[in-house]
């Protein structure tokens, strides 16, 4: 292996020892030198190994390679089982964020029971994300860095199928889609 410079070794040790994923800024509080270059070097060093260095949002951490899941999987410690309502609500928040409760309910066609958002927030995947400046100033919700980390997403752009859904207009409100369809019909006439 080619010799490592001190910054690369330091960042490697730091991320290895850290209890939580770290941002570049938080790493800089510990390590001198070019942290970003060190991360690039480590990502390539660990590519293909049993451990990988991954970026989740603004945070970095080491984790085991996905293809080894069959060896390591711990079914019994299964991360909390979400109800169907919980899964759908989480997906709607992730694909539409920031999104109000009323918007979530409009998509699901049913009221959200009180516990559903609580469970998602308790899991650390969803957070309140400010109020929308419309009458009533409703609270909006968005996903957290822990959500990205848990589902192995580098950014929200990695959400499965998000580009196709956006292109198909399926992330737009129904009203907007109806308007568009009407316009299109008029053009075709």
């Amino acid at each position: 292996m080619t010799p490592l410079d001190d910054t690369v070794r330091a960042v490697e040790a730091l991320l290895f020892a850290a209890a939580e994923p770290m941002t570049v800024d938080s790493m800089r509080a510990y390590v001198a030198g070019d942290v970003r270059a060190a991360l690039d070097r480590l990502v390539s060093d660990y590519a293909g190994r049993g451990i990988n260095l991954v970026r989740r949002g603004e945070r970095w951490h080491f984790q085991t390679a996905g293809d080894l899941a069959h060896l390591l999987r711990r079914e019994r410690e299964e991360v909390r089982r979400l109800s169907r309502a919980g899964i759908e609500t989480l997906a709607i928040i992730a694909y539409h964020e920031p999104v109000t409760r009323a918007e979530i309910e409009a998509i699901r066609g049913v009221q959200i029971s009180k516990g559903t958002l609580d469970v998602l927030m308790e899991a650390g995947w969803v957070r309140p994300a400010g109020r929308r400046e419309i009458p009533g100033r409703p609270l909006t919700f968005a996903t957290t860095p822990a959500f990205l980390a848990h589902f192995g997403l580098e950014t929200r752009r990695d959400l499965p199928g998000i580009d196709d859904l956006r292109a198909a207009g399926l992330l737009d409100p129904v009203d907007l889609a109806v308007e568009r369809a009407v316009e299109k019909a008029n053009e075709d006439d």
Binding site: A17, Q63, E77, I87, L90
Partner: protein, 241 residues
């Protein structure tokens, strides 16, 4: 279908839109090509069956049924283009809602199937953790210091004044004095007679109070007898017989 099964079925739906989506899936065509009319018929039939079995349906299922009944009549009957909403647009609206719910349902499933941290991939279990050592740097201003001393001085100084300036007769002195004097008084003698002749003002009050306590203490020891006719009446002392 038994009533019980139907109840369970209804419990399994996440609301009327969910029920509609599942009925639409049964048409086994792309959601963009479903027959809205057939879907409406199926939904209304479902709700009707629930009613004949006298099952309690949540209000939103009935609201949806009413809306779908209206949609059905709009689709079937000739319409007044001024007064009535465009039934094609209403049908499109329903179809768009179903597509959106289906899209999110599928997205949720794909999300859950990813390699999830703590189930499929793992962070280091025995991470040492990083430590921040906080070293306090104490701060205070010279004003705080001086004002603090002023506070302490003000708190303790008046007490020192009082103790130095006030003339008092201590309890020990009063016991010694009363014990010495009572020996020469075999007849009842008022307590005031035991005070120093020159005692006036605050010192006299102090001497009286201390002498009274001294009298009580000496009586307890059997070295003096006390007599008082009534509360606040003159107090007399004499040597024990």
């Amino acid at each position: 279908m038994t009533g019980e099964q139907l109840t369970l079925d209804l419990d399994g739906w996440e609301g009327p839109l969910d029920l509609l989506l599942n009925l639409a899936r049964a048409q086994k065509v792309d959601l963009t090509r479903i027959s809205i009319l057939a879907l409406v018929e199926q939904y209304l039939g479902y709700v009707e069956r629930a009613r004949t079995l006298q099952l309690e349906l949540a209000a939103d299922y009935l609201v949806m049924a009413a809306w779908l009944a209206y949609l059905k009549s709009a689709l079937l009957l000739p319409r007044d283009p001024v007064a009535d909403a465009d039934p094609e647009e209403l049908a499109l609206r329903l179809q768009l809602r179903l597509e959106r719910l289906a899209a999110m349902r599928e997205a949720g499933a794909r999300l859950m199937a990813r390699d999830r941290l703590g189930r499929d991939v793992f962070r280091r279990a025995a991470a040492e953790g990083l430590r921040t050592i906080r070293t306090p740097r104490w701060s205070a201003e010279i004003y705080d210091l001086i004002a603090g001393y002023g506070r302490v001085s003000a708190r303790t100084r008046p007490v020192m004044h009082v103790v130095q300036d006030r003339a008092v007769m201590t309890l020990d002195a009063a016991i010694a004095r009363v014990a010495a004097m009572v020996g020469s008084h075999v007849s009842w003698t008022a307590i005031e007679r035991f005070l120093p002749d020159d005692a006036t003002g605050a010192f006299r009050r102090s001497a009286l109070a201390s002498s009274f306590l001294a009298a009580l203490e000496l009586a307890r020891q059997g070295r003096v007898e006390l007599q008082q006719a009534a509360p606040f009446a003159p107090l007399y002392l004499r040597a024990p017989a």
